[in-house]
């Protein structure tokens, strides 16, 4: 698959980081939610600062009907807005391949309900900060991992996308099967996001503290153990131990804090602080549904799911 035209659906922080970098090498169109956002991008271009520093030209619109044909579509909406975005693509772009990068599980199936495009599953560890509609700061320049979804695309095609992202100045890695990595991130996210949303704590060292009997790290560890047992029941070997991911992220956070940066606020805590709906259904909810499907108990994640849901609607 020769990728000459990319469409990024959803221009939040992650979508903007893909759009800006890729626009340096290929033609990039962007679908935004707000017309003013599209107008501003068309007028001023998209500035990326931080780990990269440039301004890119992109073609933006808030009207799905105005999107022109593309070879690769990167679906970068929040999981809560995925249904609407996939619906807007339905029945069109038969030659395109799509890539979903949503948190949690189930994005691929949801998109495939709207059309039989070949799909890449993807997860990303990049992060950034949105300054305004046309300026995003590239903060954490970590990898995007992708792989063919359920035989709809090939590993060679995934490697082409990997090369495309690397040429654009991003970090990427193609996998034969993404599920082990996807599940590692799922268990990590289900735990860290829900604990953070309920305690109001950013992802700080308390998440890895297990010295005292009632230290928070004990709960984090128990939740990850429960998640691992669900993965085992689903027959998915994990790519990384989510507990080690947690310990490493906390240590990296301590280093950054020592340099004067703010502690990382997980997106679910941002959402509850802002009174927005969270992605709990796609993350912890997905894990609980998988547990039930494979007949293993997940009482702690079930409790976290109910508590976050209740907090959303307090």
């Amino acid at each position: 698959m020769a990728v000459e035209r990319v469409c990024v659906i959803g221009a939040g922080v992650i979508g903007s980081l893909y759009a800006g970098h890729l626009a340096r090498n290929v033609e990039v169109s962007v679908l935004t939610r707000r017309a003013e956002h599209a107008d501003a991008l068309n007028a001023d271009g998209l500035r990326i600062s931080g780990k990269s520093d440039f301004t890119a030209r992109v073609r933006a619109t808030a009207e799905p009907g105005e999107i022109e044909d593309f070879d690769l579509g990167i679906v970068a909406t929040k999981a809560t807005q995925l249904e609407e975005a996939a619906g807007a693509l339905a029945g069109r772009f038969p030659a395109a391949t799509l890539m979903t990068i949503q948190n949690g599980l189930g994005a691929e199936e949801l998109v495939r309900n709207h059309g039989d495009w070949p799909l890449f599953s993807a997860v990303t560890f990049m992060s950034g900060v949105r300054h305004d509609d046309t300026h995003v700061e590239y903060e954490l320049d970590t990898e995007t991992w992708l792989g063919p979804f359920a035989g709809t695309a090939t590993f060679e095609q995934a490697q082409e996308v990997e090369a495309l992202l690397i040429d654009a100045g991003l970090h990427a890695r193609a996998f034969l099967d993404l599920r082990p990595a996807q599940w590692s991130k799922l268990i990590f996210n289900a735990t860290v996001n829900s604990v953070s949303a309920l305690t109001d704590l950013p992802h700080v060292s308390a998440f890895a503290a297990r010295d005292g009997e009632t230290d928070l790290g004990n709960l984090v560890h128990d939740l990850m153990d429960e998640g691992k047992s669900v993965a085992a029941a689903a027959g998915v070997p994990l790519h990384e131990d989510p507990w080690l991911m947690n310990v490493q992220a906390v240590r990296r956070g301590e280093t950054l804090a020592a340099e004067g940066h703010y502690a990382h606020v997980p997106s679910m805590l941002e959402d509850v602080r802002a009174g927005r709906p969270t992605e709990i259904d796609f993350i912890t909810g997905a894990l609980v549904r998988e547990a039930s499907r494979h007949g293993v108990p997940a009482p702690l994640h079930t409790a976290m799911y109910r508590l976050v849901r209740a907090r959303e609607t307090a």
Binding site: D215, L216, A303, Y305
Partner: protein
Amino acid sequence: MRIAVIGCGAVGSLFAANLGTLDDVEVWAYDPWQEHVDAINANGLRLSGAGDVVGRVHATADPGELPPCELGVVATKSQHTSAAMADTAHAFEQGSVCSVQNGAGNEELVAEHVRQVIRGTTFPAGRVIEPGHVRWDTKGDTHIGPFEPSPAPMDAVEALADACTRAGMPTHALADARGAQWRKLIFNAASNAIAALTGRTHGRVAEAPTRELAWAVMAEGRAVAEAQGITLDMSPEELFDHAARKDVAYGHKPSMLQDVEAGRETEIDFLNGAIVAFGERYGVDAPLNRALTELVKGKETA
């Protein structure tokens, strides 16, 4: 008879003011809040709301001033029990001391300082609205009985129950008060911790999606009570539903939610934390209560 109330916040004031209406009882109150102490000594301790009462009470912020007493009633927040008892134990060398605090684990702390201890559970509630003046929100019963590892004699338990009941605070003297205490503990642990984490009132905690969680948390508490050979005197689940009624306490913010909203330390160690600790002692796992304890303790540090 001389009775000292240790910790004269809302609940302590309900006991002190009502007991202060009796002619045959001399009531003392120890509390570190000087303005409250001064107001009580100047004008008496006033209750309004569910009952209008002005009690004669000798108040002091200096524990050294407490005279020897036959009976004590401890009503501090649980996290202050140890310090308050260390300061006041001298007044109870010949006396018996009753905890009417929330949760479980307070009697054990009282017993580190006093020989004759009474286990207690009280339902009435209120709030301090100004120095010397407490709003009495809810009336209700109190259940007391000897604390088994370091018991007060039964006649001391009966003397306290009799004085409280005559003063307008119906109090039952029981040989075994654990059933009443654990019924309230199990109810409180579920309502308070879930409310503190979600921001929901009691009535909304009793609804989806937290209703099933609350019931699972109470089931763990029941298992820990059963392992100790405790027979609950009432169903905590029925109490939960009763309190959730619109005409009872649907819109009530449990005290732990009020504490986290005000950035104060909570009583989590004596509620869900106590269920976990007693469970460990008796070989019963309480993973949901442990998770709630760790979450609330995390939230306290946020």
